[in-house]
Symmetry: C2
Subunit: 450 residues, 2 copies
């Protein structure tokens, strides 16, 4: 197989093929596709075509492909298929994928589906549904290779061979004692290179076993897996009994979701919006924040209103206002962006975070000074009015420092109140930098110029 | 080991222990730490302490810990250690980690270090240094388990057992023909469950082998690994000869870097800034964009200047100006954020992207209409001036639609010009929404109110 520019050859083949058939689905081509590519393809079809297509597929292929689809498309499709078929498809998925889909459905449909799923799968899925979806328990996979620590290496290999078809990702096997307490982890390669008669317990001598309890936030689990370069993180209850594992492929999804959430919620867009979301959904998510923003900008407008008399006497102030607001807003957003990414990539550390605000203050002071100097010259050249140039650059300097400190502090404050550190932070920031910027410019002008 | 709230116990032990010793380093505690935690700890020390500490460590531990440190700290430390020791440390690292560090150094130091590294490692590292660091070649690991496709399963296992100590991440082994062309991939578990006498070639019958060439962008490789839920992606030359693999732990780093880059470059902060960067570095990265922003806001100020006469006659216009600018800016940023995340998580598709701008137009129309209606009432209640309220809400509606379309379009345009779709996008957006917002408000006021 040869490929260029990262397009897998079988996909390109499908694209060409698809064109030849006027874009119609060709079963033979789909058969040769990876489920992730098949999912992409299915998502491009209309709902009725999706249903028609899924019905033609063997149940296992249907399950594999649907598991790879976007949440929104999964939900629509499962709601539309007949309940018996949906239940069969869910049985063929790994329990965590099935639970993720059921989570999204209405209570009634979820209950009906669960009743149709065969008892052993139902029990496992129902247990997973009891965990908060944003925690380790909510994202973990229960298909895990478990070994009693008393086994020898060759017994362990035999046991894994017998089980392996059932477990989707057995890169590690986990050791437990007779009461199911997690005692260690071995990789398949550890087993492969060890002397067959050795007790597996000896392989984990001196191991730094790292695990999380089921209620740890999923973003924290993702951070830990990234930090330790793990392929999976074992999840236990508070008695340290093994419940499941969070795998690295889930981490990639969690990181992508988190990055989208942060960037989008910062400006008041929906955390889970994509360009594939229905546009009415985006309206619903964004409009409340825009309305809040009206209230917020009413505050800065009110500040300007206080000084309306000054503006009437000196309209040039209205010309300079946007410059102050823009610079301070931009300065604050720079601090905000660095801070939000800090919280996304490292564990929250109060002292370190507030030290970072002090760092932003220093950056704000230097950047503020340079920009204020530039603006001092520019305004003087333009207006030949030295006092005005000084008032303008003073207000700018002040507001840029405020922007730097407030931009650095907002995510910490939101975090301390238990909120998402990004949520609408840009909107709050702008309200403050606009209001205080206008206040200092128009206020200083009132004192020194009028 | 028991843990709560995701803090690994040995780390908490170290924290408590560290406090008891007045924060001094205790070798026994460090010995029991994971290299990733040791790296975090070392980063908190001053440079001289770092050097002193690293010198006490066995070379292998030093290499493992330094490999986990932040790029900036690695560079400082390697520059400060004596060249012989640095060379030994680099030899103990995996070649891709060593190449990443050397990449950051001055040419002279890099050359001197390479001369000190033993020939076999030098050759491998030098080859890696020839690849663009932003491509698959630049992030791949050359330590990969390679199997001739003619082997039987038991021969393959014997071969992996012999090699495995040297290879850091052999979850997959790759099959090549006699001319080193990549023909397939097998996982250790495939080998473990297969009949020993079977040819490994038979295991890959009908496999959809997916690989990338060395010049594929690293973010695209990350996207593909996430898409296919792979643990590693083989990298080949244009003749499909195997060069190395990109592993999933690199993907986590790439995704985190990309998310930080996007969020930070959007507002003109440095793409690689963190709260641990020296503050002067942040000044250097951010100031040029703030200066550009002065030029940009000068444009919107100039628009206001054109209408200075109108403002002198009707100062309330200056009160309303910030509301228009804010709303349209916010609307545009919502579109921007969703679009930038789209480019981060999916392959660029021109038609789909422009369709998404059309989607933003629809959202902008509805949100613009709702907000304009709200503002119409609010301004009328406040001023009792119906024509003013209508002019204001008309300008707002217009500017919000412009914001939606421009916010959606900027990342596509940047992408088409081969730029990072996020770069300074928020700054460009604000310039446009401010200028056109002021133009429509003050222009419409000039026509209908004065």
């Amino acid at each position: 197989m040869r490929k260029e520019k990262g397009i897998p050859e079988h996909l390109r083949k499908w694209q060409e093929h698809g064109k030849g058939l006027g874009g119609e689905v060709d079963q033979r081509v789909i058969d040769a596709m990876h489920p992730a590519d098949a999912a992409d393809h299915i998502e491009e079809l209309g709902l009725e075509e999706q249903v028609k297509f899924i019905k033609q597929l063997p149940i296992r292929d249907a399950a594999d492909s649907i598991a790879e689809m976007e949440r929104y498309d999964q939900r629509e499709l499962i709601e539309r298929l007949n309940i018996g078929m949906s239940a069969r498809i869910l049985e063929y998925m790994s329990p965590d994928d099935a639970a993720d889909i059921l989570e999204e459905l209405d209570d009634d449909l979820r209950e009906s589906l669960l009743r149709q799923i065969k008892a052993e799968d139902r029990e496992e899925i129902s247990t997973l549904l009891t965990f908060d979806p944003d925690t380790a328990g909510g994202v973990m996979n229960t298909e895990v290779a478990i070994l009693l620590e008393d086994l020898t290496v060759d017994q362990a290999i035999t046991s894994i061979r017998a089980e392996v078809e059932d477990k989707s990702i057995p890169y590690y096997a986990y050791l437990v004692d007779r009461r199911n307490h997690l005692t260690g982890a071995v990789s398949l390669r550890d087993l492969l290179v060890a002397r067959p008669g050795k007790k597996i317990k000896e392989l984990i001598h001196n191991q730094h076993l790292i695990s999380v309890t089921y209620e740890v936030d999923k973003e924290e689990v993702a951070r830990l897996i990234g930090h330790y370069n793990f392929l999976a993180m074992p999840v236990t209850d508070f008695d340290h009994r093994l419940l499941g594992v969070v795998t690295v492929d889930d981490v990639i999804d969690i990181l992508n979701e988190e990055a989208s959430e942060d960037m989008q919620s910062m400006v008041g867009a929906g955390t889970d919006e994509t360009i594939d979301s229905p546009w009415a959904y985006s309206v619903k998510k964004r409009l409340p924040w825009l309305v809040l923003n009206v209230a917020n900008s009413a505050i800065s407008a009110w500040v300007v209103h206080l000084f309306e008399g000054n503006i009437a006497k000196m309209a040039i102030l209205a010309v300079l206002m946007p410059i102050v607001a823009n610079q301070a807003g931009n300065t604050g957003q720079q601090a905000l962006a660095v801070m939000i990414r800090q919280f996304a990539t490292e564990k929250f550390d109060r002292v370190k975070s507030w030290t970072a605000v002090f760092r932003e203050l220093k950056i704000g002071l230097v950047n503020g000074f340079c920009v204020a100097l530039l603006v001092l010259f520019a305004v003087y050249m333009f207006t030949q009015n030295a006092p005005l140039a000084m008032v303008m650059s003073g207000a700018l300097f002040l507001d840029m420092i405020i922007g730097a400190v407030v931009g650095g502090a907002i995510p910490i404050i939101l975090k301390e109140f238990g909120r998402d550190p990004a949520q609408a932070s840009s909107i709050f920031l702008t309200t403050i930098t606009d209001s205080l910027g206008f206040f200092s410019l128009l206020g200083l002008a009132g004192i020194f110029l009028l």
